[in-house]
């Protein structure tokens, strides 16, 4: 019993995450000046759906907050309130709190009322709703509308139009623009709790396709109804097409049910809570005899076209005799609620129906899969790649002719392996959007706490990155964003002084670049104050006082452990645990981080990460008896050195002349400490390595063996980080080969290609 509930709960929270995401999206669009009603609707719907789900699970805190938020959004939606920048900021804050509440509800935590309180107050103030009324009214529209339904059940049928229908129609019309419309007298005349007369309800239920697509089963609903009392069900199958034209994914049935129960209408509505918006539902209180009469009696009330939602019209053709009552039903609750200033609720009802009509909830072709299963698949594919390499090697060793069936078969196998591997990796890839959205919140919070006006711009948020990378990027990126807001951007006064816009800008971009993903955090602040950085580093004893450092050397001092330039420690960043931690977590992902800064213009931190953590295309090379793999995306070209290409630069170094450019020559074997520099490199093979920053280097190797896909096996877990080495892999012969990290290697290369007395070189 508890288990299926837990599952439903879990899927509710997963849905919540998606809804929160679209909420953020919508708010962002609004913030960017989009006043399209559809955008506002998206926001409204997201909040509404969260509220609905939360209600089903009895998450009162969440429901309460979501309701207030929703009410405010409804004001916007109805065009009674047009949000300015401040309002949107408040909405963002609400969205953040909503996210907190969702997470708190999921983890069973509590969220401090002190946080939600002020925001709610502001919200109410902003929208101009009186808080009191909102508080007092528990939003249970059904009970209220039930009172009205009782009007219909009054035995004195001829009285109906006079007593309830007509005044309430007026109320419905008038209450919309004017909230303070006095409650019409006839309503109060009806005893609010006249329930004993109610014998039950007639329920019309027509599921939409989405109801089936979301895994609901009408039968269970009927069973739940049966628990409330005696039930009789009539199934309408007139719409059922011929068998040959039947679409099995489409529902064609609708049902009329009559329940005899003492339960209030609310109880009946609750049964359908889960399918709210996925079906056409109408619940009428049962009169003494049959609802046919009541519907005809209700007909005069039907003029309420602006409230009558489109989907109801659909029922009209199929159930003509009830069309009128349909309209009445839609109008009734609205009218009642309007008169009691429950406008938000009325709109809400309407919206669910309108939503169903406006965006036919088409089933999304997605499957939720446990990440563990995908990981297992990824691992298996990794093994497959290794196995395939082993097989290729055996076939090669068997000395079969290249056009033998085995070889061609193997070739196809290779292609298939690659396809499978790519598909599996695509399963793991996710747009980086979710991460960027979280950063939006970080910016909002950080800017509020340091009192700066900051706008976050994001670009390339649909760039797909491996899920693990996204997860493990969250912390470092948070740090960097905070740093950008706290240290990067100047205070508002300074900005104005410098002739910049009042609002600081932080830009977050993601893009694919040469087989890696590059994420950049840019601020338009004052740039790095290099003198202060250097001073500080000397002060802290991180560098000798007489150190000669280039600008980029100084920038890189920021990554040293224990370095913090904030003059005073703010509560945001500046505890000195910043950038060095960022750097090591990026490195743990096989990534790199760079700074570029321009005094007065701003600073850019750029992170470059491998696209996947599992497989890469590499060139297998041999050097000093060792086999190494060089990532293919780093290799620009390969060439054989001639005498003219090679020029001695210093006493120990060479440069290679390539099409008029000079590229430093590095001996891979010597750089890795496998051997001493060779006597001559003429005739040797070099790989021209291109780096993200545009620098090039020529890497001398003994021979190039192969070009193939290799599975990445991390070294960090078993041994630790090795300079110049990104990871390891297993080759076809079962041997381990190391995968080079060309940028790291080049970055700390000595460049010694000639034997001479070793000299201390300043590592750049």
């Amino acid at each position: 019993m508890s288990d299926p509930m837990a599952e439903i709960r879990a899927s509710f929270f997963i849905e919540c995450e998606e809804l929160l995401e679209s909420l953020q999206d919508g708010l962002q669009l609004m913030d960017d000046g989009d006043t399209d009603s559809e955008t506002i609707n998206i926001v409204f719907r997201a909040v509404h759906s969260i509220k609905g789900g939360a209600g089903a699970f009895g998450l009162d805190d969440l429901v309460h907050f979501a309701h207030r938020f929703e009410t405010a959004m409804d004001e916007v939606r109805a065009g009674r309130f047009s949000p300015d920048a401040e309002a949107i900021r408040l909405f963002f804050a609400c969205a953040d709190i909503l996210a907190d509440l969702v997470r708190a509800a999921r983890d069973g935590d509590q969220v401090d009322d002190g946080i939600t309180g002020p925001v709610l107050e502001n919200l109410d103030k902003l929208v101009g709703l009186e808080e009191e009324e909102e508080e007092d009214l528990d939003f249970t529209p059904a009970t209220l509308s039930l009172d009205f339904g009782d009007g219909g059940t009054l035995p004195d049928l001829p009285e109906l139009p006079d007593v309830s229908a007509l005044p309430s129609t007026d109320a419905a019309d008038d209450a919309l623009p004017a909230l303070d419309m006095p409650v019409p007298a006839p309503d109060t005349d009806i005893p609010p709790m006249a329930e004993p007369e109610c014998k039950g309800f007639s329920v019309k239920f027509k599921p939409e396709d989405a109801l089936y697509a979301s895994g609901n089963e009408p039968l269970y609903l009927f069973r739940a109804l049966r628990d409330l009392g005696d039930i009789s069900v009539i199934c309408h199958c007139e719409d059922l097409p011929q068998l040959d034209s039947l679409n099995p994914d489409t529902g064609h049935l609708s049902w009329d049910m009559t329940i005899h129960t003492e339960e209030p209408e609310q109880a009946v509505r609750e049964v359908f809570e889960f399918v709210d918006g996925l079906c056409l539902l109408e619940i009428n209180a049962l009169t003494g005899d049959q609802d046919g009469t009541s519907s005809s009696e209700h007909t005069p009330i039907s003029p309420a076209p602006e409230i009558s939602p489109p989907p109801q019209v659909e029922t009209a053709p199929s159930l003509p005799e009830n069309a009128a009552s349909t309209r009445v039903d839609a109008a009734k609750p609205s009218a009642t609620k309007d008169t009691t200033k429950k406008l938000g609720e009325a709109k809400d009802e309407q919206s669910t129906q309108a939503k169903a009509a406006a965006t036919p909830t088409q089933p999304r072709a997605t499957v939720r899969v446990d990440l563990e299963r995908i990981d297992r698949l990824v691992n298996l594919v990794g093994e497959l790649v290794i196995n395939q390499a082993m097989l290729s090697q055996s076939v090669a060793e068997a000395g079969l002719p290249p056009n033998s069936p085995v070889s061609t078969g193997l070739e196809e196998f290779l292609q298939l392996t690659r396809d499978i591997q790519e598909s599996v990796m695509m399963i793991r890839a996710q747009p980086i959007k979710s991460l960027f959205q979280r950063m939006g919140r970080i910016v909002r919070e950080a800017s509020a706490s340091v009192g700066k006006e900051v706008r976050l711009r994001t670009d390339g948020e649909n760039t797909e990155v491996d899920k693990t990378v996204i997860e493990r990027l969250a912390d470092p990126l948070t740090h960097m964003i905070r740093n950008a807001v706290d240290h990067g951007l100047e205070s508002t006064e300074k900005r104005l002084e410098a002739g910049k816009s009042r609002e600081g800008h932080v830009t977050l971009t993601a893009q694919h670049r040469s087989g890696r993903i590059v994420i950049e955090v840019t601020d338009d602040g004052g740039g790095i104050n290099r003198e202060r950085v250097k001073e500080k580093a000397i002060q802290k004893g991180l560098i000798p006082a007489d150190a000669q450092l280039s600008d980029s050397d100084i920038d890189n001092l920021l990554f040293l452990p224990g370095f913090s330039t904030a003059a005073e420690v703010s509560n945001l960043s500046g505890r000195g645990v910043g950038m060095d931690v960022v750097k090591s977590s990026i490195q743990a992902l096989g990534g790199r981080i760079n700074i570029t800064s321009q005094e007065g213009k701003g600073t850019t931190f750029s992170i470059s990460l491998p696209l996947t953590l599992a497989v890469l295309d590499g060139m297998v090379v041999r050097v000093a008896g060792e086999t190494l793999v060089v990532p293919l995306n780093a290799i620009l070209e390969t060439l054989t050195l001639t005498d003219e290409d090679l020029t001695a630069l210093g006493p120990e170094t060479h440069v290679v002349q390539i099409r008029g450019g000079f590229v430093p020559l590095l001996d891979l074997g010597a750089e890795l400490g496998y051997r001493t520099p060779q006597d001559s490199y003429v005739g040797g093979t070099v790989l021209l390595i291109g780096q993200e920053d545009g620098n090039r280097a020529a890497l001398a190797v003994d021979s190039i063996e192969d070009q193939r896909q290799v599975v990445i096996k991390g070294l960090e877990g078993s041994y630790g980080r090795v300079p110049g080495i990104a990871a390891a892999t297993i080759l076809g012969d079962g041997q381990i080969a190391l995968i080079l990290d060309p940028t790291d290697l080049v970055g700390q290369a000595t460049g010694r290609t000639r034997v001479r007395q070793p000299q201390q070189l300043l590592v750049g």
């Binding site: 096996k713 078993s718 390891a728 190391l738």
Partner: protein
């Protein structure tokens, strides 16, 4: 040889004893995952001399520690050192390259002695206890100490 009769002793510890650099050492058998023949290790650049490299242990990358080099003992010829003891230390797994595996011993815990405090000997810090079996001194290896220091490699 003596393990059967002593196995019933509830306070005894089972040890895997082996020879390395002409000396007898042992490790708690519970930390031994497997024993396998030597394989050609892929050497790691910039690694300490006692790190022989890494080998492929059924799809995982296993670092190999040349135990005699680690303990500062004389390194014999490569041909002699043909056994790798794969040890498991919680999160970390490593292979210890030794000369030969000798025996499985069950030693009552009261027969364990703390090693004498001789600071001159490099191997001393790697020995957590001593015991005597058949007149031969067996050193019990402190595996944590033998493992290569993990963490950030100096870049």
């Amino acid at each position: 040889m003596t393990d059967i009769e002593k196995q019933n002793d509830s306070t005894s510890i089972e040890l895997l004893s082996f020879r390395v650099g002409g000396q007898d050492y042992s490790v708690d058998i519970m930390s031994v995952r497997e024993i396998r023949g030597s394989a050609r290790a892929t050497s790691l650049p910039h690694a300490p001399s006692f790190v022989k490299g890494v080998i492929n242990l059924r799809g995982t990358v296993l670092p190999i520690i040349d135990l005699s080099a680690r303990l500062g003992l004389q390194t014999g010829e490569d041909t002699e050192r043909n056994v790798i003891i794969v040890v498991d230390l919680g999160e970390r797994t490593a292979g210890l390259m030794v000369d030969a595996v000798s025996d499985i011993l069950a030693i009552p815990s009261e027969e364990m002695q703390p090693p004498p405090d001789l600071t001159a000997d490099e191997a001393r810090t790697f020995v957590s206890a001593l015991t005597i079996v058949d007149g031969r001194m067996i050193r019990i290896l402190d595996l944590e100490a033998v493992m290569p220091p993990q963490g950030e490699e100096v870049a």
